[in-house]
Every structure is written in C-alpha cells, then in structure tokens.
C-alpha cells in the first residue's frame, strides 16, 4: 500500500499544548490555571437570542459571507470601537472562530516560498497554518526586556525580499502584551516601505486594562494592507459558539470568501443570530467581564511577584507570563512537576514557541477563590525548589 499521508501535513508538529493536555486529563482533582477561554457563561440575553432563533426555525444556511444584519453590526462595532470603516457587503467575512479567519487569510495571500513573519511567543496556530498554506514561517522572538512588544529592530532584521506577511498577535496570548498607539506607529512606516501585508489578530481587543486597544488598520495607509481578525469568543465569552470574522480590503476578503464558501459554506446560523444580539446590546457585559479580569490580574501579578518570581505586567488578554529563570528548571519540568507535586496545571511557555522557554502561562479566567487556592500551592512549590 502507498503511504496515504501528505508529507506536508506529517511534517507539522502537533501542538505542544496537546501533549500536556493528555497528562493533565489523567490527573484527577487537579486545579487548572491552564485554559484559554473565559470562565463566564455567555450572557443570558445572548444565549436567549440563540434559543429564540432555533424556536423560530432559523435552521438554514446563511449566505456564504454571513448574515447581512450581523455584517452590518460588525461594521458598526469596528467603527464604534476601533475607528475602522468597512463596507458590510464585500469587506467583511463571518467565519468559524477567529482561527478559521487566520487560516483563510494566509491561504488567500501566500504563494509557495513567501515568507510569513510570526512573532513568538504567540497563539499556536499561526506557524502551522503558514506551513499548510505553503508559506515559509519566519519566527521573530519577542523579548521580555521589550515587554514582549514587536520592536522596529526586531521587525527590520527579520525582513527579506521574500517577506510578504506580518502576523500581528496583540493583545497577545500567552504574554498579555499589547501594542499601543506609539508602538504601532513605530512599525507602520517599515510595513509600508517594505510593502508588507498584516494579519492583525485582535481577538482580545476588548480585554485591555488601562489603555484602549488600537488597531493597526486605523493608521493612514494601513487599511488596504491589513486583514483585521476578531470574534466573539473572548469578549462575549462565546468560545463554544465558534464565531469570528475578518475585515479588510474587498480584494482579499473576496478570495477568502471563496475558500470559505467551498470549505465551510457558512458559519453556524444560530451563533450568528446570537452574535447580532451580542453586538447590539452586549457592551455592558463586556465591561463587567473586563472589570472582573482586571481585579484578578492585579491580584495574580501581586501574588506571583510576592513569591519572588519576576513577572512582567500584562495589559491585555487574561494571562500572566511569569519568568522561572531563577529556578533552574525548564518550563516543561516546572509544569510537569507542579502538576505532580501540587496538582496545579499551568501551561509551559514553550507551547507558544521555543522562545517561551523559562516562562509559564497562567490564566486568570478563574474565580478569585479558585486563584487563591492555586496560588498557595504554587507558592509552596516555588519555595521548595528555590
């Protein structure tokens, strides 16, 4: 028999997080600080709208690019919150989560051999999606001394004449770093000068603390070279509804819609109706959740620094990314032994790129009571191994 598998696919490494997941799931009564999704249930009025749409029998396909009402609300939202203007009819595509949009954007824009810049540590799917699209991912290592931001120098030194796309994953999972107006301003000139396109993953845009999120697409000259990716999972606690979107110039969105049309057909109809309600009447829910995350964030950073670990202050998402470099243990060792000795699950930084070595991702999408118990255990562990 011939080998049934594609070499391209087989060569891709499975997500490092998966390996760890298997160990954790065999551990009974472990406390986890390892999830990448909100602890809140989807606000009831949004769920209720989904239920209502089912009661009304809205169980059919929507148009490929998504419900018209939803696309209009997405455009209103992007204008209201990010000062971005898009035409709902051909510049927005509703997708199955932000992750589909990332995959589509890459597939629609690269040819074999094109280089895609992937800043790391970052979400697990950029690198493999670039490979699957036939591109060459080039990792840019973000540094703690730069607060895990992408600097002008980092960017310049990674660009070659094959570079076509920059992935911009801010607010960042796992570091919690954000790029504010000045940080973005610093790199915009280079992007335009070197004629790059940007896939800006702004899925955590509503979860920033103290500073409003700024989209790179709002800079002069950037709208036509940026695909903005966002969704409902993090801001409205709707991970299981699988709904995201991409907004950008019609030229690119039309090609993305073509792939989406053949591969997916359309995003789930129930979720789309619920999302309309989220965008129309969900601002106060977002505010409530942001407020709760902010309290936990401060609590967690304080507690971790009190243990004697250095911890950069995250201004976005719901993760802290402390350094364990003083402990003479690899990230993997730390996470595995913490799980075995204290039954607390955190994610080793290396799951988000090799340069995550020496760091851990700790999520604060948990109640304060839960965090307190876990932090006591982590403290005991750190003291023991110092």
């Amino acid at each position: 028999m011939r080998n049934p598998l594609s070499r391209n696919v087989v060569n891709i490494q499975p997500s490092g997080i998966r390996k760890f997941f298997d160990i954790v799931s065999e551990m009974k009564d472990a406390i986890s600080l390892g999830v990448g999704e909100p602890d809140f249930d989807t606000p009831w009025h949004i769920r209720e709208e989904g239920i209502y749409s089912l009661e009304k029998g809205r169980t059919f396909y929507t148009s490929n690019s998504g419900l018209k009402e939803l696309k209009i609300e997405i455009c209103n939202y992007l204008y209201r919150r990010c000062d971005l203007q898009y035409n709902y009819s051909n510049e927005v595509l509703v997708t199955v989560g932000g992750s589909e949009a990332i995959d589509l954007a890459l597939r629609a824009m690269v040819d074999p051999g094109d280089e895609v810049l992937v800043p790391q540590p970052s979400y697990v799917s950029y690198h493999p999606c670039a490979l699957l699209a036939g591109a060459v991912p080039v990792v840019i290592e973000l540094k703690e001394e730069n607060n895990f931001k992408l600097t002008k120098q980092d960017l310049l030194s990674a660009i070659t004449d094959k570079t076509k796309i920059l992935i911009l994953p801010f607010p960042n999972n796992p570091t919690g770093a954000i790029m504010d107006y000045d940080d973005l301003k610093d790199i915009v000139d280079i992007i335009i000068e070197k004629d790059l396109y940007v896939i800006s993953d702004e899925i955590y845009s509503e979860l920033t603390y103290g500073k409003r999120h700024v989209s790179i697409a709002s800079f002069p000259g950037m709208r036509d070279r940026t695909i903005v990716i966002n969704g409902f999972s993090k801001s409205y606690a709707m991970t299981g509804w699988r709904l995201g979107y991409a907004a950008g110039p019609a030229l690119i969105i039309e090609q993305m819609t073509k792939i989406h049309q053949f591969a997916i057909m359309c995003a789930p109809t129930t979720s789309q109706y619920a999302a309309v309600e989220a965008l129309r009447n969900g601002d106060s829910d977002v505010e409530m959740m942001r407020d709760a995350y902010d309290k936990r964030r401060k609590y967690l950073v304080h507690a971790i620094r009190n243990m004697g670990l250095s911890c950069f202050e995250p201004l976005g998402a719901f993760y802290v990314f402390p350094s364990i470099k003083g402990l003479n243990m690899s990230s993997d060792d730390f996470a595995t032994r913490l799980l075995q000795e204290e039954k607390v699950a955190v994610v080793p930084g290396t799951a988000f790129g090799a340069c995550g070595e020496g760091f851990l991702r700790i999520s604060y999408a948990y109640s304060i009571d839960n965090l307190k118990v876990a932090l006591e255990r982590i403290e005991r562990f750190v003291k023991k191994h110092k």
Binding site: I17, S25, V35, K295
Partner: protein, 160 residues
C-alpha cells in the same frame, strides 16, 4: 475609589481590605479607612450572609404583603413605615408606586405565625386600609445570586 470598593463587595463581603487593595490598585490603609467611613455614613449598613434556608432542616416561611395605608399629614408614609419595620419579624419594607403603597416582607417559623402577625399586629393599625398576603413557595435567586448549586467547571483543563 468608594464606588469601586462598594461594587467589589456588593456580591462578596468576605474580601479583606488587603485583597481589595491589591485588586483595586490601592493601599490597605486607604481601603480600611474608606470602609470605616462608609460604615459611619451608613452607606454600608451591614454584612449579612446569603443563606439558602430551604437546605437546612429548619422551618421558615416568607410572605410578601401588599399594604395600602393612609399617609399622615406632615409625615407622609415614613411614620407608618417605621412603625411596621420596627417589628423583628419584618425583613424588608419598601414604598411602592402603583396599586398599593408598601411592600412588607415577613419571615416567620410557620404560616400560622405569619398569619397571626398580619391579623393581630399589622391589619389593626390605624393608618392601614388593607393588606394582601402572598406566601413565598420557593426562592430561586436573591441579591443577584442564584440559590442553586454552582455548576461544575466544564471547560477542558488545558486549552490554547
């Protein structure tokens, strides 16, 4: 900061001044002194515990009574409301708009006890024109908190 503290302890009065200080970006001293002020100004009126008495082997009944009264000249409804809320059995008294004037919430050990209170204490008061008593059958949610068991965390233990 006052409002931030109040919002933070509205649903969880067990948070210590130290925790509040960390979470709100303040100092323990400041939080303690603001809490003291709020208590003195009677903005914080107490720190009760939300108990689901249905789960305790202990008979209790709650009734909501609609009361119509004649307001008194110069005193309005306040005097009669005060006469009512001074009874220990009375949990809450609200002045209402609409078809009746006061909502009185009573807690007693038995239905008979509540009925006796209405018949012997409440209804005979001079200013009271009429009462309508409704017994509570089951409490689902109070003070913004559901009185049911919190559901298990169903999320996967680790996700990217």
């Amino acid at each position: 900061m006052r409002e931030k503290i109040l919002t933070a302890i509205d649903k969880n009065s067990k948070l210590t001044a130290k925790d509040l200080a960390i979470m709100l970006g303040s100092t323990e001293e400041e939080v303690t002194s603001i809490l003291k002020q709020l208590e003195e100004e009677h903005i914080i009126c107490g720190y009760p515990t939300l108990i689901n008495w249905d789960k305790v082997q202990c008979e209790r009944v709650t009734a909501l009574i609609e009361v119509k009264v004649t307001p008194q000249r110069g005193l309005g409804f306040d005097k009669i409301a005060e006469r009512i809320y001074k009874f220990d059995e009375v949990q809450s008294v609200y002045l209402m708009s609409g078809g009746f004037d006061l909502t009185v919430i009573i807690e007693g050990k038995t239905m008979r006890e509540v009925a006796n209170f209405v018949a012997a204490k409440l209804a005979p008061m001079d200013a009271i024109l009429s009462t309508a008593t409704h017994f509570v059958l089951k409490k689902y949610k109070e003070h913004g908190l559901p009185l049911v068991e919190p559901k298990q965390d169903e999320r996967m233990l680790i996700s990217p």
